[in-house]
């Protein structure tokens, strides 16, 4: 017959619903309190913090979204880099970014300290928006428009790395975001640091 102590391998005869020792109760209470802290942090950050993945979300027809993004690029185009338009919308504008295999369209030029509404969607499959070197990551899903208020904090030359597998050329999908300072000057341009010619290969 079993003693009062038994391993998890033994069946338990009789009533096993017995009070726990104080140490266990205290640990359960501490663990529960900590879980409540974890919970509270999320609403708290919506209220007091500045980084929240909320934004506006709506369904959208991928082709229509892409057309909107082409129009937007035409409207604010200021130049070109590797055949992709560089687009400089005014502060506060609605900004449209499209992911497609294997390119981000267009190149955005934003101003540090200004707020934009950045729309993101995909023309074909799932893509991942990963802003480098800021490490800001969002999922870009075809058929869904994800619009986030973004405010770049400092000027620089940024990259958008696709971080969701989107096909065999996934690793070549890199886009560019230029952030100019408050005076409108480009402080860093390393896009030509290494110029690669795909045709040459």
């Amino acid at each position: 017959m079993l003693t009062k102590v038994h391993s998890g391998l033994d069946p338990v005869p009789g009533v096993w619903w017995k009070p726990a020792h104080k140490a266990e109760k205290v640990w359960v209470a501490i663990a529960f309190a900590w879980c409540m802290v974890l919970f509270a942090m999320m609403p708290l950050w919506h209220w007091k913090g500045g980084q929240n993945p909320s934004g506006i979300r709506r369904r959208v027809d991928p082709v229509k979204y892409y057309q909107r993004s082409v129009e937007f690029a035409k409207q604010y185009k200021i130049g070109e880099d590797r055949g992709i338009p560089i687009v400089a919308p005014p502060p506060g504008a609605e900004v449209y970014l499209t992911g497609m295999t294997f390119q981000w369209f267009p190149i955005l030029q934003l101003q540090a300290g200004s707020t934009y509404r950045l729309h993101m969607s995909s023309l074909d499959v799932n893509h991942g928006f990963s802003l480098y070197p800021m490490n800001v990551n969002f999922q870009v899903v075809p058929g869904y428009d994800y619009a986030l208020q973004v405010t770049p904090t400092a000027a620089g030359d940024f990259r958008i790395i696709c971080n969701e597998f989107c096909g065999i050329g996934h690793h070549t999908m890199v886009g560019r975001v230029i952030v100019v300072d408050a005076a409108g000057k480009t402080v860093a341009d390393n896009s030509h640091a290494v110029i690669r010619d795909r045709e040459a290969k």
Binding site: P11, W27, I84, S121, V136, N137
Partner: protein
């Protein structure tokens, strides 16, 4: 130990348990196929880690993505679930001295699972399913991929049904007294979560299959992501429940660990059933399809109640081990019980590493990156695989490996081959996995994406130059990966040699430590004669809050501190980003 069984069986000479003749081969085939899948997955792992280690960069892009899909399916689905099927057959029959329900249907289910497995392997290896493990539409694979998964899932679901039927039979035939053992209770938890999970799998894979053969026009990519993760993450919760059950089992077998309080441990398992399936919502934290309220509700109340369950097990498992050792007479100091534990027993060392790496690395990182906002700096970076290699591989796979060292003599009746290697294997594997997960986690913190062939971006239109520290952490990942794969291959060599060419155990040399049989079986842990008096003394009021397990209180205190520091460090890192909202 039990009433005389009326069905064909043998009695285990080491444990005195009844092993039904009809159940034994089912346990064996599932365990063997699990290990074959592990072999395929481990070879794939080596190729992958040597590609991601940018200094080596072994595979071409096409093969990298292809092998990544193969690795995911073999490790996360085939290895783990076949092993869990073995665990279900083992716990419901051997631990309850019962016969299995309808073994013929059991074999049919196994056949379904096997044909599904072979179909998936075929489409993946022949390049017809380069959509990786998650196969998000509109990326489309050959219908064989979806059909294979469906066949496999139907087979697994049937075995789960047979598991419940076996429990009913055992209860009716009164093969045990009172309530089922805690380990079986844990297996029941895993089985319930498995049913929920597999139903979600059917809800998403059946329409996707119909889409792949042209019967349905399109699959909404966001709804797919939601339902797929109700399968994809919940299947990892089956692992958690099964792993915790195996923890209690190994603790009992290796050092005579006890159950501190059945109420507390069983309630924690109930929390898993109630809440853990919702937690898969954390995969959609930075998705466009859902609002903040949906995200917070699903990943906070629901997920954190499951986190609470893990934190409870994180106390009761080591505390049960501590109390078990103290009741056997190892009472010196705070950690005498731990120091004098059988560190050379691969079952025990696997258990300890599984608990520690799962809790400290897997648990803490998982809860942190599963936070709505912190996910912004973690989503789809290498931090994600860093997290789940600590949980699924260092936690679940390590626990299953430890269990295998006991199953080989108990079920296969063979000595564990290459005993010297077997004693080292858990150390090799877990140190490797620890380096791999840390390397991945830190690389991800620098923004290195997951599922990415070439982070030198040689063919991309714009250059990207990662922080030079990334080269170092990726090298750590590479070296860790090689160590871990070596550990996994050592495990496979040991298991295959033992099963097919191992030395049969004819008589049990009880009381002697011999090579090839874990000491928990030859010298089963025995409590002192006056165990109940000792227990009462350890629980005496005068011992205060620390009670019977002061060592464990110190350990969980360190754990909580690490958790708090890591969590708030991540909020600090998040606050440096652009304003996003």
């Amino acid at each position: 130990m039990s009433t005389a069984a009326t069905f064909p069986h043998r009695v285990c000479p080491a444990t005195g348990r009844v092993i039904a003749a009809a159940a034994e081969p089912l346990i064996k085939v599932n365990a063997v196929v699990a290990i074959v899948s592990l072999l395929v997955g481990a070879i794939a792992a080596l190729l992958l880690v040597l590609t991601r280690w940018q200094a080596v960069h072994l595979l071409p892009a096409v093969w990298y993505y292809r092998i990544l899909g193969v690795h995911g399916m073999n490790m996360l689905i085939f290895f783990i679930i076949y092993f869990e099927m073995a665990v279900l057959w083992f716990t419901s029959t051997v631990l309850l001295n019962a016969r299995p329900a309808n073994p013929k249907l059991g074999w049919f289910s196994f056949g379904l699972m096997l044909s599904g497995t072979l179909m998936v392997e075929w489409v993946q290896w022949t390049g017809r399913a380069d959509v990786l493990f998650t196969s998000y539409p509109p990326l489309k694979a050959h219908p064989g991929l979806y059909l294979g998964v469906i066949l496999f899932a139907v087979g697994a679901l049937t075995v789960t049904g047979l598991f419940f039927a076996t429990l009913v039979i055992a209860k009716r035939e009164k093969t045990y007294e009172g309530s089922v053992p805690l380990v079986v209770y844990g297996a029941v938890t895993a089985a319930i979560i498995a049913v929920i999970t597999l139903l979600h799998g059917a809800m998403i894979y059946i329409p996707t299959f119909l889409w792949s053969i042209g019967l349905i026009k399109s699959i909404d990519p966001e709804i797919y992501r939601m339902l797929w993760w109700a399968l994809g993450h919940s299947s990892q919760q089956i692992n958690v429940a099964a792993m915790v059950a195996v923890w209690y089992m190994l603790s009992g077998l290796t050092i005579g660990g006890v159950v501190l309080n059945e109420k507390v441990s069983r309630s924690a398992f109930v929390l898993y059933v109630l809440f853990i399936s919702m937690a898969s919502a954390h995969h959609l934290l930075v998705d466009p399809g859902f609002g903040p309220a949906w995200k917070i509700v699903n990943t906070s109340y629901f997920m954190y109640m499951a986190v609470l369950a893990s934190m409870i097990h994180g106390f009761t498992v080591p505390a049960g081990m501590e109390l078990g050792m103290r009741l056997r007479g190892y009472t010196d100091g705070l950690f005498g019980w731990l120091r004098r534990a059988p560190w050379g027993d691969p079952g025990f060392s696997s258990l300890v590493f599984s608990v520690v790496v799962f809790g400290f690395v897997g648990g803490i990182t998982g809860v942190t990156i599963g936070t709505e906002q912190i996910n912004i700096i973690a989503h789809n970076t290498l931090r994600i695989p860093g997290h789940f290699h600590a949980t699924v591989v260092s936690g679940t796979a390590m626990a299953f490996m430890g269990a295998t060292y006991y199953l080989l003599p108990l079920i296969f009746r063979r000595k564990v081959a290459f005993w010297g290697l077997a004693r080292m294997q858990p150390y090799l594997f877990s140190i490797g996995m620890l380096l791999l997960s840390m390397g991945m986690t830190f690389a991800g913190s620098f923004g290195v994406p997951r599922r990415h062939w070439d982070i030198s971006f040689a063919q991309a239109p714009f250059d990207v130059q990662f922080n030079p520290a990334v080269d170092i952490v990726l090298a750590v990942m590479g070296i860790g990966g090689i160590l871990a794969v070596t550990g996994a291959l050592a495990f496979i060599a040991i298991a295959v040699k033992s099963v097919f060419f191992g030395e049969a155990i004819t008589t049990w040399p009880l009381g002697k430590d011999i090579a090839g049989i874990p000491q928990g079986l030859t010298t089963p842990p025995v409590h002192a004669a006056n165990v109940d008096e000792l227990n009462d003394a350890l629980h005496a009021e005068s011992r205060g809050i620390a009670g019977a397990t002061p060592g464990t209180l110190v350990l969980v205190g360190i754990f909580l501190l690490a958790f708090v520091v890591y969590y708030f460090t991540n909020w600090k890192l998040l606050s440096f980003l652009w304003k996003v909202g």
